[in-house]
């Protein structure tokens, strides 16, 4: 009987033990190749953004620089940062982290997986005014880019409990993602209340983290979008040598060529697909929109706090909105100006002084590719700040963070007095 039982259950027990050993072992299960890193830097795939192993591996090389942002990165054209860096053999390669729906809170938590790679390094951060809506980050979009690996790592890294931690824990608990796992939820509740996580919670989180890391190691590299061909095709459009005047002319020419079917200077394909049939509906549609009152300001403060904690030197880019379009939709210019002042105050008052503020360039022809995304001349203008920032030596910034930016008062404050 024993032999028969062994023949029946032996393989199952053996397989189960092997699987347990594999999933909970403290060893790294794979090796990320340079090819994967290069592909991932352009991929904009959610599994790369969510995960750890690929970002960590790529950013361990000096040449990769994290570019945080959102949907603008997927608008590849000849002046896109990745194209320029490739063509002119720059010393840096942008590692693009951003996709439609990634906002400050997503970035704060996904950064938790690369904190040591960000230490004393440079980064670029594109701020979208459109993030700063009344309701703040969308719950489903946050959930899409969230992985429990982010929260377990974050929870295990909390040393002392400060205002930043309490705010972040509370924000995560506001999202369905923060409540999906019972232990993580209970641990977050403790942190939000200013307590330390319990010993049992810590033990659980350590094993959970290992399991999730192994999942990330085994599966993240399997599905990475390949955008290399797009980049190669676009680099061919560029002149051999970098000459701003020539590039600017090229940008105007390209812009003219691609914006022929509408009066807003919007890319033909975007206009045809997304706006033409609904154009009428947009007339004065955005009249009462505001980007000046939003919980996003405090979420953004989390990101700044993380940059300060890891001494990252960051170039912030504030893009404009397409003025021809915003006039049509009735989006308030005054409100946009207020937003610009408010975000600049939050940055400069805490020592973040590398700001490439393009917010007044919305009326420059072919600056934007569509309604809100940087295009031909826009990326070129951004490059005037990005390239020197990344290739030249910068003075080490000193940050002095202020917890008032986590307050409801700041979130809702309309004007700042500089």
């Amino acid at each position: 009987m024993a032999k028969k039982l062994f023949l029946i259950f032996g393989p199952v027990v053996f397989a189960a033990l092997l699987l347990f050993a594999l999933l909970f072992s403290p060893f790294k299960l794979n090796h990320i190749t340079a090819k994967t890193e290069n592909k991932a830097a352009l991929a904009l795939s959610p599994n790369v953004l969510k995960g750890q192993v690929i970002k960590e591996s790529a950013l361990s090389h000096e040449k990769f620089v994290p570019f945080f942002g959102s949907s603008e990165f997927s608008r590849f054209d000849f002046s896109h940062p990745s194209v320029l860096a490739t063509k002119y053999n720059r010393s840096y390669t942008p590692f693009l982290m951003g996709a439609p729906g990634t906002q400050s809170l997503t970035h704060y938590f996904q950064m938790q997986l690369i904190t040591s790679q960000m230490k004393n390094r440079k980064a670029v951060f594109v701020i979208s005014p459109q993030w700063f809506v009344k309701k703040g980050a969308r719950k489903d979009a946050f959930g899409f880019y969230y992985s429990p690996l982010q929260s377990t790592t974050w929870l295990l890294d909390r040393k002392q409990n400060n205002a930043t931690d309490r705010y972040a824990a509370q924000r995560l608990l506001d999202m369905p993602s923060g409540n999906a796992n019972h232990t993580i939820m209970m641990a977050l509740r403790r942190v939000a209340k200013g307590q330390k996580i319990t010993h049992q919670q810590r033990t659980y989180l350590i094993y959970e983290q290992r399991l999730l890391q192994h999942e990330d190691q085994l599966f993240s590299a399997l599905k990475i979008k390949n955008n290399q061909r797009k980049i190669d095709r676009l680099t061919k459009q560029l002149p051999e040598h970098y000459q701003l005047h020539e590039l600017n002319q090229l940008a105007v020419k390209q812009g003219e060529k691609h914006t022929t079917n509408n009066r807003f200077g919007i890319d033909n394909r975007f206009y045809a697909r997304r706006l033409r049939s609904k154009e009428k509906k947009f007339k004065n549609f955005e009249q009462n929109w505001t980007y000046t009152q939003s919980p996003e300001f405090s979420d953004f403060e989390l990101v700044l706090d993380q940059f300060a904690a890891s001494d990252t030197n960051v170039e912030f880019i504030i893009p404009p909105v397409n003025e021809k379009w915003s006039k049509y939709t009735g989006l308030s210019t005054k409100m946009l100006k207020q937003f610009d002042q408010k975000i600049r105050y939050q940055l400069t008052s805490q020592g973040f002084t590398n700001i490439c503020d393009l917010s007044d360039k919305g009326d420059v022809p072919y600056f934007m590719q569509d309604t809100i995304h940087l295009g031909w001349r826009g990326w070129l203008a951004a490059d005037q700040a990005i390239d020197p920032f990344l290739t030249q030596k910068q003075t080490t910034p000193t940050y002095h963070m202020n917890n008032k930016f986590y307050s409801k008062e700041w979130q809702n404050q309309l004007k700042v007095n500089n």
Binding site: M1, K4, L5, I8, F9, V12
Partner: protein, 399 residues
């Protein structure tokens, strides 16, 4: 509190494995601990119906008390008398809770009835079958405590397979011989692992990876499109692998407990005709309908000479039988149409087989016609599953 949908994740299987261990050791030593089986059943019922689903738990308890008392009373009565009116009333009373649960969403805009719980249909099938077998006189020794065990047998409680009282009792009372039980363990484990492949790999590929994309494309196309054809096949595959996978878990778990719960699926897409299909698809349900609805209706019509020809009797009963099955799935136009279509298909199938028999020699029968028949049956079934999925309804509502 911990709460699970049966067989939903690795943790459930871990707990299941530990819970089954004493039973397995017991049977291997030639002993059955009925008290432990009851204990473990209650434990898994609490896992399934406790915590956030406690209202369902209360509904289950109330339902069980009601059905056990009802069937008990009827069997007591049946020992002395055999009035048709009483029998019919008992059956109606037994199905009333199910009828209320099925009608509530149709009447109250999709709101679920508070007396409903996961698996109410399957318990009702068992109860009705017990009443009918008592009426027939084949079920003589009724034991309410055993009946309760039969109803709540936890591996099959949420979605079948539907076992029969007497068959279950034979297994329950007996301790399988060691050699035979070792075979059961082997088969059980095989079933569970096949279930993993079906439910967690194939159903995942079809249902989670492919279906949402195709559905989205089909909705965007507004009307007939190749994506809709894709939805039809992909949904059919998902439905099969999901349900067959679940059934394999239930059967496998039963085997570990020394109970040979009948199989639910037997390569249904290999069927050569629609009758063959219903002998292979959700078998315990279709056999239940055959024995307790189809046969009963046929006897009733013949006894009262409602129809002149036996052919008409069979045809009308096919349609009635399948329409009732449609209503059982839910009171929506697409479930009912699904039932009627299958009823009609059975009628056409019978007619064709008779026609073929009377024209022997004129109609070819070879490997090719067999493959062709399988192909037609498969496509018809997939089309009815598209209806069944409710996706067409969603498309119409979108417009």
């Amino acid at each position: 509190m911990l709460s699970f949908t049966p067989y939903e994740n690795p943790m459930y299987f871990g707990i299941l494995g530990l819970g089954l261990l004493p039973i397995v050791i017991g049977i291997l030593c030639g002993k059955r601990f009925h008290w432990y089986e009851t204990l473990i059943s209650v434990f898994f019922l609490i896992l399934t119906f406790g915590g956030p689903k406690l209202t369902q738990g209360f509904a289950l308890i109330a339902y069980l008390i009601y059905e056990v008392l009802l069937v008990w009373c009827y069997t007591k009565y049946r020992k002395k008398n055999n009035n048709t009116g009483v029998f019919v009333s008992a059956v109606i009373l037994a199905i009333i809770p199910l009828v209320i649960v099925k009608l509530t969403p149709a009447i109250q805009n999709g709101k679920q009835s508070i007396i409903g719980f996961l698996g109410i249909s399957y318990l009702t099938f068992k109860a009705v079958q017990t009443i009918m077998e008592s009426r027939d006189g084949v079920l003589k020794a009724f034991n309410p405590w055993f009946f309760l065990q039969f109803l709540v047998f936890f591996p099959t409680i949420s979605s079948g397979p539907i076992d029969r009282y007497r068959r279950f009792k034979r297994d329950y009372d007996r301790v399988p011989k060691q050699g035979k039980y070792l075979q059961l363990l082997q088969k059980g484990l095989h079933n569970i692992f096949k279930g993993f492949i079906y439910k967690y790999m194939l159903a995942y590929v079809f249902g989670t990876m492919l279906l949402p994309k195709l559905e989205h494309q089909a909705l965007m196309a507004h009307g007939l499109s190749w994506s809709l054809v894709g939805v039809m096949y992909v949904y059919s595959m998902y439905l099969f692998f999901d349900f067959a996978g679940y059934s394999l878990f239930a059967v496998g778990t039963s085997y570990f407990m020394g109970i040979e719960t009948p199989m639910n699926f037997n390569s249904p897409f290999k069927s050569r005709n629609i009758k063959d299909f219903w002998n292979r698809w959700h078998m315990t349900l279709s056999f239940w309908f055959r024995d307790y609805i189809y046969m009963r209706l046929v006897f009733f019509f013949m006894k009262h000479k409602v129809f002149k020809s036996p052919k008409t009797t069979a045809n009308v009963t096919y349609i009635l039988n399948m329409t009732i099955m449609g209503f059982w799935h839910g009171v929506t136009w697409y479930y009912v149409t699904y039932g009627i279509l299958h009823g009609a298909a059975l009628v056409v199938n019978d007619w064709w087989l008779r026609y073929k028999k009377s024209h022997r020699g004129q109609i070819p029968h070879n490997k090719f016609t067999e493959v062709f028949a399988t192909f037609i049956t498969f496509n018809f079934v997939c089309f009815t599953f598209l209806l069944f999925s409710g996706f067409l309804n969603k498309m119409i509502m979108m417009k």
